[in-house]
């Protein structure tokens, strides 16, 4: 530890004491004891000097008083004194604790015999000086003792200072309980360690100090792999080595240890071992990791915020309203278009913030919370496409028609983490629809009212003619019947035209279900269309004389006319066309089944799913066979509005079978 003392000379000078480095000679006191004042004066004269104080005592008693008060470098003691002689006085001086070591020089006129000399020495005298003095001898003897006193005092002070320093260092070392500080020998043997080491590693001194190697404090694999030796070797060659490895406590528990090993140089300048300082940095590590995590999270948040901001800027440009909700339904993002439609931004912290909106179905019924597309997407994982609602923002008076699409948002594991809703103010579309409806209503009104007048007039005239009961009216009645029949056909055409217009606009047609005999309807259509061709043989397959049900007969007739006309049109070479009509029971419900089979050019397989789309035309007919492509989509719409389906089976070049199925009674229609 002495080698470390130099470390403290700067900061520890107060502890080391000024005395250690004092250069002026320490003032000392010399006690002169003689009953003869002139002897004392003579002594003073001889011994006087700047570096000392001479204290006179005229008797043994006075000498004793003085040694009680002060420390003296040396006492010059006259042997022959009245009352208490020199020997007695010396004995008493020696008996006092303070003056036990004070050197005494006896002054005597003559050596009065060996006995007294021996007595003097036995009482602690260090010398005798025979009177009369040899001045030089006296001076030099006294100087020796002064010097001795000074040296002794210096040594004592140094020892005190050293002890103090040692205690200080000890307290520092032992007080540094967060650090294990160890002195190692050249092989890593532990020579000393501090409280911190005891606490960190958990061993008692007797288990380690002077017995164990630094390897004890490392994990087995580090020892086996030579890691510990490498550390010592590095410290040896480079002066210092540091590491951060798992340390091992007594009992085997591991912890993250920061370790620093430095060379320990002896007073002779040679390496005598190592100083090892270790620290349990588990907490530090955890704190660091925590801080790193926090920083990482903050960076990630900032990144996400930037990405969100970016996304927002992109979304704000979009004409569609976009809302993003988290898994709890809190609105995370709401773009400018959404805010424009709703009227204000929903508060972010409010789950399902758009609860504040009123929502209605198209038919005016209030839409429940659970019916909302975004709620269905987030809570049920449903993908909602193209649903129309009316919404009214919290600050708004008017209802806004919107088209909503919604879908859940999922993480990589498929868990729903939120939902997105895209919605669009379809006021212009609704207005267009309204205008279309108004147009259709006006067209219907304007076309049918004149027809109604013509028909009613014709029928009225027929009635009147019949009442006249004269033969001349017969051709008149025939003509009127022709007008009446023509208005019927014209009405049918107007209805079909209006239906087509409605379907082209994507509007449903209004069915007019009435009691209808399907068998009669099929036979009539077959017979009518047979009149238009003699290259095709239209045959009806129907086991029942009548098939009464409730449908919109005019529309079903249009379906059948369409299918049979197509069969004729797309069987250009001619051939049989078979119409089958029957009643089928399926799951306790009755279904009407209509089938039209031809042997014509057929429909390419990969186009069969498209042929019921509006305006679709088969690649093998486009440009060769006339048609606007409205027929089959109209067929599908009418059949679907009856609650039914239409399907095609076909082999290109070998003909097609179209099958229409619809419930015996149209859903919602009352018989």
């Amino acid at each position: 530890m002495a080698a470390d003392l130099h470390l403290f000379t700067d900061s520890g000078s107060a502890i080391m004491g000024q005395d250690l480095v004092t250069t002026p000679p320490m003032p000392v006191k010399i006690l002169l004891v003689d009953d003869e004042p002139k002897n004392l004066t003579a002594l003073e004269t001889v011994l006087a000097a700047n570096d000392r104080t001479l204290v006179r005592a005229g008797s043994g008693q006075e000498a004793l008083r003085q040694v009680l008060q002060d420390d003296f470098a040396v006492v010059l003691l006259d042997v022959h004194m009245p009352t208490m002689d020199g020997f007695e006085t010396a004995e008493l001086i020696r008996g006092r604790e303070r003056s036990r070591e004070t050197p005494i020089i006896f002054l005597t006129a003559a050596i009065s015999g060996d006995v007294s000399v021996a007595r003097g020495y036995s009482l602690g005298a260090v010398d005798y000086i025979i009177k009369p003095f040899d001045l030089d001898v006296l001076r030099s003897k006294v100087n020796v003792f002064i010097e001795l006193f000074r040296k002794t005092d210096q040594v004592r002070r140094q020892a005190d200072a050293l002890a103090e320093t040692t205690a200080f260092l000890h307290s520092v070392l032992e007080g540094a309980t967060a650090y294990a500080i160890m002195a190692l020998d050249l092989d890593g043997g532990i020579l000393a360690w501090n409280e911190g080491a005891r606490r960190i590693f958990g061993y008692r001194d007797e288990e380690v100090v002077g017995r164990a190697n630094i390897a004890l404090l490392h994990c087995d694999e580090d020892v086996a792999e030579g890691y510990v030796n490498d550390l010592l070797e590095a410290a040896r060659s480079e002066g210092r080595s540091v590491s951060e490895r798992d340390g091992r406590r007594k009992g085997g528990q591991r912890f993250t240890a920061s370790l620093s090993i430095e060379q320990r140089i002896g007073a002779d300048g040679h390496q005598v071992g190592f100083v090892c300082i270790a620290q349990d940095v588990t907490l530090v590590k955890e704190t660091e990791q925590q801080r790193a995590r926090l920083i990482q999270e903050r960076v990630a948040r900032a990144e996400a915020e930037r990405a969100r901001d970016h996304l927002r800027q992109v979304l704000d440009v979009m004409p569609e309203g976009i809302m993003l909700a988290d898994a709890h339904g809190s609105i995370e993002l709401c773009n400018a278009a959404a805010i424009a439609i709703i009227g204000r931004a929903p508060p972010r912290e409010d789950a399902w913030a758009y609860r504040t909106m009123r929502r209605f179905h198209l038919d005016g019924a209030e839409c429940t919370f659970d019916e909302l597309p975004l709620v269905r997407a987030v809570q049920g994982g449903e993908v909602v496409l193209g649903e129309q609602y009316w919404i009214r923002g919290p600050d708004r008076e008017e209802l806004v028609p919107v088209l909503m699409n919604s879908a859940p948002l999922r993480d990589v594991d498929g868990m729903i983490i939120g939902g997105v809703m895209a919605f669009q103010d379809i006021t212009p579309i609704k207005e267009l629809e309204r205008q279309k409806d108004a147009f259709l209503a006006a067209a219907s009104h304007d076309l049918k009212n004149p027809l109604a007048i013509v028909k009613a007039q014709a029928q009225l005239l027929m009635r009147r003619a019949a009442r006249m009961d004269v033969p001349e009216t017969a051709p008149l009645v025939d003509g009127l019947r022709g007008i009446d029949f023509a208005t019927r056909r014209l009405t049918g055409m107007v209805n079909e035209l209006l239906d087509v217009a409605r379907m082209q606009m994507g509007r449903p047609i209004e069915l007019d279900p009435r009691p209808t005999d399907l068998a009669a309807l099929v036979r009539e259509v077959a017979s009518d269309l047979q009149k238009s061709t003699n290259r095709h043989q239209i045959k009806v397959h129907c086991d029942e004389p009548i098939l009464p049900g409730t449908w919109d007969g005019d529309r079903i007739e249009r379906v059948l006319v369409n299918l049979v006309s197509n069969a004729i049109k797309y069987t250009p070479a001619g051939g049989p066309i078979d119409i089958t009509v029957r009643r089928e029971s399926c799951n306790g419900a009755d279904w009407a089944v209509l089938q039209v089979k031809d042997s014509g050019i057929g429909v390419p397989t990969d186009e069969q799913h498209n042929i019921f789309e509006r305006f679709f035309r088969g690649s093998n007919v486009a440009g060769r066979i006339e048609g606007a492509g409205i027929g089959l989509s109209g067929v599908r719409q009418i059949v679907e509005q009856h609650g039914g389906t239409v399907a095609v089976e076909s082999v290109e070049g070998h003909g097609s079978i179209f099958t229409v199925r619809f419930p015996w009674t149209v859903p919602g229609a009352l018989a």
Binding site: L447, A456, Q457, Q459, R463
Partner: protein, 137 residues
């Protein structure tokens, strides 16, 4: 307000006249002729407001109502009738509109007939409604 001169055989006319509300005068004339021919008393109106005036005066037993009317439309007439009469007469809607059934249902009509119609069908529909035999639609 014109009473049928020719017909006393139709008992159903006893309860009051049939009000025809139709803005096409020719059609109105034909329908009137037919109904009078069937023995009913008939009053006519050519717009919605006139229809309500006639309802108040004549307390008809049946209203034959066109929906596309000037001044007040069919829906407004139906609503007005209910305000005027505590026990309003049945309404038979006749309309050229595509959604005639729907509109008739909405105003609580007893039945409907789409224009153009056969006169026989019209006469039958009137008979059924007056006999309380009209089928739900």
């Amino acid at each position: 307000m014109t009473q049928s001169p020719s017909n006393a055989q139709n008992d159903l006319a006893v309860g009051g006249a049939i009000l025809i509300v139709e803005d096409e005068p020719e059609l109105c004339a034909v329908v009137r002729f037919i109904l009078e021919d069937e023995g009913y008393a008939v009053v006519t109106a050519s717009d919605g407001q006139e229809a309500l005036d006639r309802v108040a005066e004549a307390r008809p037993c049946l209203i034959l109502l066109d929906m596309g009317l000037p001044v007040l439309n069919g829906e407004e007439v139906a609503a007005g009738v209910k305000e005027i009469l505590a026990d309003p007469p049945p309404i038979l809607v006749m309309s050229a509109a595509g959604n005639v059934a729907e509109r008739a249902r909405r105003i609580g009509a007893a039945s409907f007939i789409a224009k153009p119609f056969d006169l026989d069908d019209l006469a039958a529909a009137v008979r059924e409604v007056l006999a309380g035999k009209s089928v739900p639609f």
